[in-house]
């Protein structure tokens, strides 16, 4: 720990904002998280220059994993061009001097909020999730010491109580995002507020998935090729949402669609939430014309 790495282009900050000791402590936590897939590892969360709830956990994980040769992509609800995504991307471009991209295929690290990219990730890529509430049992059991004990003792009966309530109230499992999963048959995990449409992408993913909760100061991880199963009932199996429409811009019927109201008369359009996927499809369609 003799050499303090110089930050990017005279920003005055250490490489990727956090100091080296902090990044080391984060990496220790991440190694433990990778060793115990789905287990929540506490870590010493730092103040970041943006408010809790805007991705402080994800940013700390990104800072700890970034190297000089990495190419960073940041998405928010699937989009590269929203305020949060732009700000975080620019933050790391400034404090780490690394290259950034909007292409899923060109990125080595992707920080995300609420989505997993449509283009399948490949081995060697890292997906970093911003997590608001890491504890899937919280809503049914408010005590943290009790939920930790429940995780330790594999005591997960209450998880299905929530799904039962959904069916009793709505006739189907109405949980549409942050849909709880069982990781490698051991830990129940909150996959962060991604739509349940993305849950199957967690299963046996070739990419490393890291989760950081800044306010709650917890890390967890899915190493590559980890079996991840969404919880369900035998007579009410896990189902993916379907749309009657195709994307209004690229015509995709495979992607997750956002509903947009485009005028004062309530006209609706459905477009891909993953902007890179949508743009890539349109480029290829235009090239063919």
């Amino acid at each position: 720990m003799t050499a303090i790495e110089s930050g990017a282009a005279g920003s005055g900050y250490n490489f990727a904002y956090l100091d080296e000791q902090t990044k080391r402590s984060l990496r220790r936590g991440l190694l433990k998280a990778v060793a115990l897939p789905g287990y929540q590892v506490p870590f010493g969360g730092r103040e970041m220059p943006l408010p809790y709830g805007w991705g402080t956990g994800g940013m700390q994980v990104t800072a700890a994993t970034l190297g000089r040769d990495d190419v960073l992509k940041v998405i928010d609800q699937g989009a590269d061009d929203t305020t949060n995504a732009v700000s975080i991307r620019r933050f790391f471009a400034r404090t780490a001097g690394i290259r950034t991209t909007q292409r899923t295929t060109a990125a080595s690290i992707i920080q995300t909020r609420h989505r997993i990219p449509e283009i399948p990730l490949r081995a060697g890529q890292i997906l970093v999730f911003q997590v608001p509430i890491p504890e899937p049992l919280r809503f049914i059991e408010p005590s943290d010491s009790e939920t930790r004990l429940m995780h330790a003792l594999n005591d997960y009966g209450v998880m299905h109580v929530k799904l039962y309530e959904d069916i009793a109230t709505y006739g189907h499992i109405a949980t549409a995002y942050a849909y709880p999963v069982m990781v490698d048959g051991r830990y129940v995990m909150d996959p962060s507020p991604i739509p349940k449409f993305d849950n199957p992408k967690l299963n046996m993913s070739p990419a490393l998935m890291l989760f950081g909760a800044g306010r709650e100061k917890r890390l967890y991880a899915l190493p590559p090729y980890t079996p991840v199963a969404s919880l369900d009932f035998e007579d009410h199996p896990f189902e993916l949402p379907v749309w009657e429409q195709a994307c209004a811009q690229c015509g995709s019927r495979q992607s997750y669609l956002d509903e947009l109201i485009v005028d004062d008369r309530g006209t609706r359009r459905f477009v891909c939430s993953d902007t890179d996927y949508c743009a890539g499809r349109r480029e290829r369609q235009e090239a063919r014309l």
Partner: protein, 256 residues
């Protein structure tokens, strides 16, 4: 017949004379043991130690499980004790709010133990909920209502249903009729007596109400200042108490 639950020299003291000390007994399958005594005599402490929720200072509790294995309760792992408490055992709290999940429906409350045991079929969970609501005389149409919309007596009956759904062999009850009015108490006791008989349940019931003890218990232990001062058959103790404190307890009940 093998004893279901065996306590030997059980001691747990919070202070001199506070808690329970040197309690020994055997409980056989299908037997109802009443623990009576004044407030602060250590009844609830004893129940907590017996059910493995609290570790004793001295002494042991062993339990003969459904497969006939005898297990030292406090030597076993916490995971084992928790599994017992939601499978072969039940625990009915004095205040139903402590024993129920107030934020989820009656049906989910009843189904929770089954889900914890791995039942993953909604239809079967639903049917169990409906059956047990009927068994404890709650209108099955209220299966989707929250417990907080139930009256005190109904909440207590729901708590009993939630515990019995896993077909336990042993039930711990801490003043199950406390806080209920007299007619509701009578109804609940009647229901309990029938369930205990039908399901061949062994019960350890803590109460300060001798009428409850007389109705439900086969045997009684009278506690005072953390010690068992008298133990025996219920009728024997209530009709011919030997210890001075038992005599006081029996004579202080108003005779109609």
């Amino acid at each position: 017949m093998k004893a279901l639950l065996t306590a030997r020299g059980l001691t747990r003291l919070h202070g001199p004379g506070k808690g329970c000390q040197n309690v020994s007994f055997d409980l056989y399958p299908g037997e109802v043991l009443g623990i009576v005594g004044e407030s602060g005599s250590g009844k609830s402490t004893l129940l907590n130690v017996l059910s493995g929720r609290v570790m004793p200072d001295r002494g042991s509790v062993s339990y003969c499980d459904a497969q006939g294995r005898v297990v030292g309760l406090h030597d076993a792992s916490e995971a084992f004790r928790r599994t017992l408490l939601r499978t072969e055992w039940g625990y009915v709290e004095q205040n139903p709010r402590d024993g129920l999940r107030m934020g989820v429906s009656a049906g989910a409350n009843i189904g929770e133990r089954l889900m914890a045991q791995g039942v993953r079929h909604y239809g079967r969970l639903r049917q169990a909920g409906l059956d047990w609501l009927a068994q404890v005389e709650i209108d099955p149409q209220r299966i989707d209502d929250l417990p907080r919309t139930f009256s005190g007596g109904m909440q207590q009956r729901l708590q009993i249903a939630r515990n019995l759904v896993s077909r336990p062999r042993l039930l711990f009850m801490d003043e199950p009729t406390g806080g209920l009015d007299v007619s509701v108490q009578a109804h609940l006791l009647d229901l309990l007596r029938n369930l205990v008989r039908d399901l061949q349940l062994a019960v350890v019931i803590v109460t300060h109400d001798l009428a409850v003890a007389r109705l439900l218990a086969d045997r009684l232990m009278v506690m005072r200042h953390s010690r068992v001062v008298e133990a025996g058959l219920t009728d024997q103790i209530l009709d011919d108490p030997q210890h001075a404190y038992s005599q006081l307890l029996v004579s202080s009940v108003l005779q109609p």
